[in-house]
Structure formats: C-alpha cells, structure tokens
Amino acid sequence: MKKANIIIISLCLSVSILPSVVRADMISPGATAALLLIIIAPIIGIIALIAWLVIRKIKKNNDSKREPKIRA
C-alpha cells in the first residue's frame, strides 16, 4: 500500500476515533453532544475515506489514459 494511502486512512481513523476518546468521560445518562460524536465522527471519517478513494480512482484513471499505446 502506498505511503499516501496509509496517511489518509490514519487521518480518517483519527477523525473518527479521537473525538469519541476525548469525550468518552462525558458518556453518561444525559450526555448530549458526546453521544452524538460517537455516531457522527465515524460517519465523517467514512465519508472522508470514500472521498479519498474517489480521488485515487480519478488519478488512476488519468494515469492509465496517459500510458503510451503499443502499436503493432
């Protein structure tokens, strides 16, 4: 796996997990935003990951179009 992919996946995971960890102490009956963060941060992380995969695909498609054709 390319270094860039590893960095992005790590970033996405951080975005997903960090807020939950930071606010974990808040999770108790009556906690408001903290509970929501447990749900929303992973969603944002997943969307960021999808966006990154789309960007990678665009790059890959563009690269393959530019490969020189071998003529018989």
Partner: protein, 346 residues
C-alpha cells in the same frame, strides 16, 4: 461577465441566502419557542451540520454522475422549505429535512457557480458570500419569537420559479482533461488542509462584542464582502499572492485584536479571501467534477469544527494558537498553489 452569468449569480446567490436563512430560522425558532431543551438544541445543530456539510461530498458525486445541478438546487430548496412547517410538528424531522435540503441546494448551486466564470474564482465567491448574510437574518428571525412559516415559504417559492426559468451555463463534465498527476493528491490535500484551518478558526475565535447588533451586522458584512472580493481580487492579482498575503495580515488581527471590533472585522474580511480561491483551485484540479469538488470543501469545513465539538475549542481559541493556525494555513496555501501552478505532465 456575460449577462446570463450575472442573472444566474443573482438568482442562486439570493437563493443561497434564503436557504441558509430558512435553516437558521428553523433551528433557532425551536430554541426560542422553548419546545426543546438547550442540550437537545446542541444535538440538533451538530446533526444539522453533519448532514448539511458532511453529505455534500456524496451528493456531489451523484449530481456529477447524473448531471443534474438545477434539479439538485430546486429540490434542495423545496426540501428546505418543507422543513419550515414540519418544525412546528417535529424538531428532529425538521432539522433532518433542513440538512438534506441545504446539502442538495449547495451542491447544485455550487456546481452552476463554478461554471459561470470558467476556472476563475469570482463567481463562486459571489455565490457563496450571501450565505453568511442569510444565516444572520435567519438566526435573528428565529430568535425573535415572531417566527412564522409563510414569509420564507413565499420567498423560496419565488426563487424556485426563478431558478427553474433561468438557463444555466454549460457545465464542464469532461473528466479527460489533463490533470497535474505529479502533485495531484498533494494539491488537493494541502488545499483541504487550509479549508480545515479556516473552519477551525471560524469556530474557535471568540468575539466578545458580537452581542452588539450593529457590530454583528458589520462583522457579517465583512464575511460576505471578504468571500465576494477574495475571488475578484484573486483573479486580478493572482491567487497565491492575494490568498497568502490576506491570511498573513489577518493572523495578528484575529489572534491579538479579537477584542477590538475594527481590527477583528478587518481580519475576518481578509481571512475570508481564501474561500473562493481554494474552492476553485480544487475544482480546477478535479476537472469535470464540480459537485464533488464543492462537496470536498464542505467536508473539510465539518472536519474543522470537530475539535470544537470534542471540547478542544478553548485551547485552540487562545491567541497564540489562533496565530499559529493562520500562519500555518498561509504556508500550506502558498505551497499548495505553488504545486497547482506547475504545468501538468503530458
């Protein structure tokens, strides 16, 4: 700018203000009517932000695939309008509808604005700018205690009709244009990082004088004019020069002058210059995908507010943190636009 483009900008810019005003009015009317608790209000606002900003990347992919920006903008407006009467029945459903409608409208309108002045930042800046004004009007209207559905419903209906009858420009969906393959991901990542930084600053800077209505209106005008002029001035004198210099000047003004209205308003005005520049630079890096490009920028915006939601806002709002974030953002923007301006490999 051709007259058709001006017409489109007027219609979609006004619609942008109306949609953002409606969303803010719905949210704040729920709070002022005491139909929900303060805690529940915070939950709903976070949920709204995630739906409205987080989903635009996915909505953008769909709008690009089916090539339907006008349908997206009009349906978004209708869904947002439907949130207004629903807010009297169910706060949760109203917020969900407002979020979905807002996302659809922004992607549709954003796609059209990105194609009004090809590869230039002026039109998208003018399209995005009225949003801040709409938010202010909607917030004041929602909080006023005299919130009623019909004025906003009539305005949105008229704007929907105008959007329907306004011929939008040809949208560039050609995905086979040359891209800067050497630095492709780096350019996008660095540009998104500057947007994240802008969002962080927008959510953490404390302006203690904001309760004064005159100063609040002036501040909002600074945001609106900053976004609008950022694109125009950037196109004229160069994105890199204008974007980086404006950030560097805004850093001390926002970091150390936040308590002084004049300094902070000037800082906010300059700070917003980069908004259209980063948006169009991303869109130009991803040719033929205007909806996805627009969505990426809003995804970066929501990532930027996550630290505040997570409780890190108080640390980041300190003067030295604000200064460091803006200066870092200027350096990152400089490098991103430096890579962007290098010619693509053939």
């Amino acid at each position: 700018m051709p007259s058709d483009s001006k017409k489109n900008l007027t219609v979609y810019g006004l619609s942008h203000a109306a949609i953002d005003a409606s969303c803010a009015a719905v949210a704040f009317s729920l709070l002022s009517s005491k139909s929900i608790t303060n805690d529940y209000f915070i939950q709903l606002v976070i949920m709204y932000n995630v739906i409205a900003f987080g989903s635009q990347t996915l909505v953008g992919l769909l709008v690009d695939k089916y090539r339907c920006p006008k349908l997206s903008a009009i349906s978004g407006s209708v869904i947002t309008a439907s949130a207004i009467p629903v807010s009297f029945l169910s706060p949760l459903y109203a917020i969900i509808l407002a979020g979905i409608g807002n996302a659809l409208f922004h992607v549709g309108g954003g796609t059209i604005s990105l194609n009004l002045t090809k590869n230039k930042a002026a039109a998208p800046g003018i399209f995005v700018a009225p949003g801040a004004l709409g938010l202010l009007i909607g917030t004041l209207y929602g909080k006023s205690g005299s919130f009623t559905a019909w004025p906003l419903l009539i305005i949105i209906a008229i704007l929907c009709a105008l959007m329907y009858y306004t011929k939008y420009p040809e949208i560039n969906y050609k995905t086979d244009e040359k891209i800067n393959t050497n630095y492709f991901e780096s350019i996008i990542l660095l540009l998104l990082m500057t947007i994240v930084a802008r969002s962080v600053i927008g959510s953490v800077v404390v302006l203690p004088w904001k309760s004064d209505i005159f100063l609040l209106v002036t501040l909002t005008s600074g945001i609106v004019l900053g976004k609008a002029f950022g694109g125009i001035i950037g196109d004229k004198y160069g994105w890199q020069k204008v974007g980086v210099i404006s950030l560097l000047i805004s850093a001390p003004l926002l970091a150390f002058g936040a308590a002084i209205p004049e300094a902070a308003i000037l800082g906010i005005f300059l700070f917003n210059f980069t908004m259209p520049i980063t948006l169009v630079a991303i869109s130009n890096t991803l040719p033929g995908r205007p909806g996805f490009s627009f969505g990426l920028t809003t995804l970066a915006l929501i990532i930027g507010v996550l630290p505040t939601y997570a409780g890190a806002g108080s640390f980041m709002s300190q003067s030295h943190s604000v200064f460091a974030i803006i200066i870092s953002s200027a350096i990152v923007l400089y490098y991103a636009l430096f890579l962007y301006s290098r010619k693509p490999n053939v």
